[in-house]
């Protein structure tokens, strides 16, 4: 067996050194009734050829994003990842290393985490960011819980424009951790006014920018209102690339930012692993969950990095931890850091501009299709259109014609019949003019 170095003669020798007759003697503590004498009912060992064949067969049954026109967003985006990224993250010293608890042996990891934290802070316009969380949805729930701790209040207001899955995760945490959620129903457009829902019991208001329906708004006024009531403003971002084009949350008065970083460096991966980002004002850092890399010096006075403020974390504070979180999303954070290092200031702006240009072009095409109405005043690379009939069936029809045309909102809100005709579409730098032609053509056919 190719991954097991011990030979039978090694095993015999070692058993003798240990002083037992057989390996079974070392499992003597297992209750008799629970011991499996034979093999579990699963297939036997397979060589690489067979494993590759079996698993590739499953992969080939899926229609991948590159196989045709692709316009799906909704919290996960198809972007180009420069070839260098994947090569670098597969270096064994990154791929197979552990959490940097022994910093002298992990300066590579700690330095890139420090760079990552800096990049996230710069992008979001906030003062401090952590070393990542599982994904945007859990980052959102953690942000609400952080706001609860900071304000010592237990009621959060969630915008109707918050990604429905992020809302669902918050609801699960609210039920079991013990806090309340409120907020208006989801709706496209920019008419939502949350100020009426903020009072002296509100810990935070959570908005998403661009919102789930793609709308972009200025939340500076809402920030001021929240602060006046002693509440915090949490801004959520599901398409991190948007920060290359639009005003960042830090400049709008956000107190905490929870985001999804998948768009930089990380493939769609059918939804995981992705990359949760969390950033906040400096004074809140001790209430921040997750790991933090901090700068210091070594015994020779040279600059280096360590995991710090660990006393917030579960392995020290146990019951009193800010969160139970242990693992972060290390390798995904590295991919993000490398991709953004390659892009730099000018590349990021250019890539964001390219995305917006494609979305603007797509919007113009779709607006030409009879019966289709654009619902956004503004958008980055994703927007909502209303079709003349339920969107789910249209999407299925287009999928059969080889076009992955977006997300019918009913997929996420099955009970909201008023949203059944709404379709979310995204366009990134990966979209071509031919793709736009096909989409327009197929949509016309499907609706006629």
């Amino acid at each position: 067996m190719r991954y097991l170095p011990l030979t039978d003669s090694d095993r015999a020798e070692m058993l003798e050194t240990i002083g037992v007759d057989s390996i079974d003697a070392l499992f003597a503590d297992v209750p008799r009734g629970a011991r499996l004498d034979g093999l579990i009912d699963l297939p036997g060992a397979m060589g690489e050829i067979e494993v590759e064949r079996a698993i590739s067969c499953m992969a080939s049954r899926n229609i991948a994003a590159g196989s045709g026109p692709f316009f799906i967003g909704g919290g996960a985006y198809r972007h180009h990842i420069p070839a260098a990224v994947d090569h670098l993250i597969q270096r064994g010293e990154f791929l197979t290393s552990y959490t940097p608890y022994q910093p002298e042996l992990a300066q590579g990891t700690l330095q890139y985490l420090f760079e990552f934290q800096t990049q996230v802070a710069l992008l979001t316009g906030m003062k401090v960011a952590n070393a990542s969380l599982y994904d945007g949805a859990t980052a959102c729930a953690e942000a609400v819980m952080m706001a609860n701790r900071l304000t010592r209040r237990r009621k959060a207001v969630l915008s109707g424009g918050l990604h429905p899955q992020y809302r669902e995760v918050c609801e699960t945490y609210a039920r079991f951790v013990g806090f309340e959620l409120g907020g208006p129903d989801p709706a496209p457009g920019d008419g939502e006014d949350l100020t009426g829902l903020v009072d002296g019991d509100t810990s935070c208001v959570v908005v998403q920018n661009p919102g789930f329906f793609g709308e972009i708004r200025d939340y500076s006024e809402l920030a001021r209102y929240c602060h006046g009531a002693g509440a915090l403003l949490v801004i959520v971002i599901t398409e991190i690339l948007s920060l290359g084009a639009i005003v960042p949350p830090g400049e709008m008065g956000a107190d905490i930012v929870a985001a999804e970083g998948q768009s930089l460096g990380n493939a769609l991966n059918f939804g995981g692993p992705h990359l949760g980002l969390l950033a906040s004002r400096e004074k809140f850092v001790r209430q921040m969950p997750g790991r933090l890399a901090g700068q210091t010096v070594d015994a020779d006075g040279r600059r280096g990095w360590v995991l710090t403020l660990s006393t917030r974390e579960q392995h020290i504070r146990r019951e009193k931890a800010t969160s139970n979180i242990c693992t972060n999303s290390g390798l995904c954070a590295l991919a993000f850091t490398i991709h953004l290092a390659l892009l730099g200031e000018t590349g990021l702006a250019r890539l964001a501009r390219l995305n917006h240009a494609m979305a603007v072009a797509l919007a113009a095409r779709l607006e030409r299709v009879p019966g289709v109405r654009l619902l956004n005043r503004a958008f980055f690379n994703e927007f909502a259109v209303r079709l003349p009939r339920p969107a789910a069936a249209v999407i299925d029809a287009l999928a059969e014609r080889g076009v992955l045309a977006g997300i019918p909102v009913s997929r996420c809100y099955p009970d909201r019949t008023e949203l059944a005709e709404i379709l979310l579409v995204a366009a990134t730098e990966m979209v071509t003019t031919e793709d736009l032609d096909r989409f327009e053509q197929e949509l016309n056919e499907a609706l006629s």
């Binding site: 037992v20 093999l39 899926n62 290393s97 995760v169 960042p248 933090l292």
Partner: protein, 513 residues
């Protein structure tokens, strides 16, 4: 800049660059900015009318510009400062640092897995659903449990899933219990999870044999206890030999038996948790099932569930419907009582592919061999080292062996110093100061992917170090490590005045002070 390269200042040799052979000093990317430089070539769109609602970003973000060669060199140099499984034996107890097969990486990157969107029509991804279903089948068979929740993002997240499911089940029974029992030796995520779900944590002491004190456990069990969270094999590397009695007592009290499956590597293929009376157990795909640790993630923490907890599993569910596999994303039908969503989308698909490739590569026979070799390797080290280090508990261990710092008594050397000296010998230290129930703990888990020669070399290094420690040369230990890219780092300073990002403004202000 010149750096002393040896301990003795009178014989120091300076390096003009600060580099030491292959150990290259590497600045932050922010210190290597060439404004306007870019490592990605992108086309410019033709002129167009922006529709950003007047909210265009103004001003400079502050990201540095680098070319591709510079970026590749930067991260390559960083990688060379890391220890990894690929570099050498990584004896971290409780982490299962086994070899990460490269086939897993190849298969996870197939476009049919990497380039599919979680919200594309399920009819377009039957192979993805089949893979998830196959993985679920393997995990259910290995654990003997009828259901498995695949969405938790890592072990701690899995624990949260388990405790939430238990609370939901109790609430459905109309019961409100307020306590969770956790052994003193447990990993910190256990009490943190229980507290996060609103439970008071009741600590259960261990006995002289390193297992849970069953009488003390029974004393604490009553109808106010929602669950016992037990790790088995436990954090001392020992199998809880009274586990059936424990399970019976827990169930008698109407409580649930949660098992932290971090140490499943010791028993996979030889014992099914269901046969031990366990109701709920999280697995760490990044431990037992070889998905890479990646410097701190991503992980994956699926949770195997008994029939009485299955109805509460978090969304989404993958079920066998009349037309094949169906993705259930909302609380309807059989999923009415699901606790809801714990994470975006469907779970860590990239880790599912890797874990399944690993499982299929080993098969039932290979996985059983994994557990046996893991236990064999740990016991071999125990026996080779028990004369030089001080075992915390007498007798055989499972897949990891625990020592305390008794062997360092009166040397003036702490477990920490000993661990740092091990670094100079070319090894990542074992887990130290965990579990908390033993003084100055050293927890060693070699895993099954270490060969005998590797173990002998490691044992030899530890024996020699232990002898050095007892011979009186404490300075050598207290100043360790000396041969690493950085020597011992000042963690106190890092925590007192946290510097958590590159901040030229602040640096200028401090320079002016």
């Amino acid at each position: 800049m010149s750096i002393r390269t040896t301990e003795d200042p009178t014989t120091s040799v300076a390096s003009t660059t600060g580099n030491r052979g292959l150990q290259i000093e590497e600045k932050l990317i922010f210190e290597q900015d060439s404004p306007g430089r870019c490592g990605v070539d992108l086309v410019d769109p033709p002129p167009f009318q922006a529709r950003l609602g007047g909210l265009e970003r103004q001003g400079v973000i502050g990201l540095p510009g680098l070319s591709e060669p510079q970026v590749v060199r930067h991260f390559t140099r960083l990688s060379q400062k890391n220890y990894a499984i690929d570099s050498g034996l990584y004896p971290l107890g409780s982490c299962t640092m086994k070899h990460n097969p490269r086939l897993n990486e190849k298969l996870a990157r197939l476009p049919g897995f990497a380039d599919i969107h979680p919200l594309q029509p399920p009819s377009t991804v039957p192979g993805a659903l089949a893979l998830i279903d196959t993985l679920a089948h393997w995990l259910k068979t290995l654990t003997g449990m009828p259901a498995v929740a695949l969405s938790p993002g890592a072990g701690a997240h899995g624990e949260l899933c388990g405790i939430m499911s238990i609370r939901a089940a109790l609430e459905a029974r109309g019961e409100r219990r307020s306590r969770v029992l956790v052994p003193e030796s447990a990993h910190g995520t256990n009490p943190a999870t229980a507290a996060a779900c609103g439970y008071t944590v009741d600590s259960v002491p261990g006995n002289q044999q390193g297992r849970v004190d069953v009488e003390a456990l029974k004393d604490r069990l009553d109808t106010d206890v929602a669950a016992l969270m037990l790790t088995n094999p436990n954090t001392c590397g020992l199998f809880e030999n009274q586990i059936l009695e424990i399970a019976a007592a827990v169930h008698q009290a109407g409580a649930f038996f949660y098992c932290d499956g971090a140490n499943f590597n010791a028993i996979v293929g030889r014992v099914r948790p269901a046969d031990l009376g366990i109701d709920c157990m999280h697995l760490n795909l990044h431990k037992t099932f070889s998905t890479p640790h990646g410097g701190g993630g991503p992980g994956s923490g699926p949770v195997a569930l008994a029939a009485n907890l299955a109805p509460y599993a978090p969304l989404p569910w993958l079920v066998h419907g009349p037309h094949g596999l169906e993705l259930v994303e909302h609380k309807r039908g059989k999923a009415q009582q699901a606790i809801g969503r714990l994470k975006g989308f469907h779970g860590q698909m990239g880790m599912f592919v890797r874990a399944l490739a690993y499982m299929m590569s080993h098969g039932a026979d290979g996985l059983r061999q994994v557990a046996e070799d893991a236990v064999l390797n740990a016991n071999y080290l125990r026996v080779r080292l028990e004369g030089d280090l001080s075992p915390a508990f007498a007798g055989p261990c499972m897949h990891e062996v625990l020592f305390d710092d008794d062997f360092l008594k009166d040397t003036g050397i702490t477990t920490l110093d000993f661990a740092k000296a091990l670094i100079d010998e070319g090894y990542h230290p074992m887990t130290i100061y965990f579990p908390l129930v033993v003084h100055g703990a050293l927890l060693i888990e070699p895993t099954e992917t270490e060969g005998k020669a590797s173990l002998d070399q490691f044992a030899g290094a530890l024996k020699a170090l232990a002898a050095e420690a007892c011979s009186g040369d404490a300075a050598r230990f207290r100043t360790a490590p000396r041969w690493t890219p950085r020597r011992r780092l000042d963690e106190t300073a890092a925590a007192r005045k946290p510097v958590l990002r590159w901040d030229p403004e602040r640096m200028n202000r401090e320079a002016d002070k």
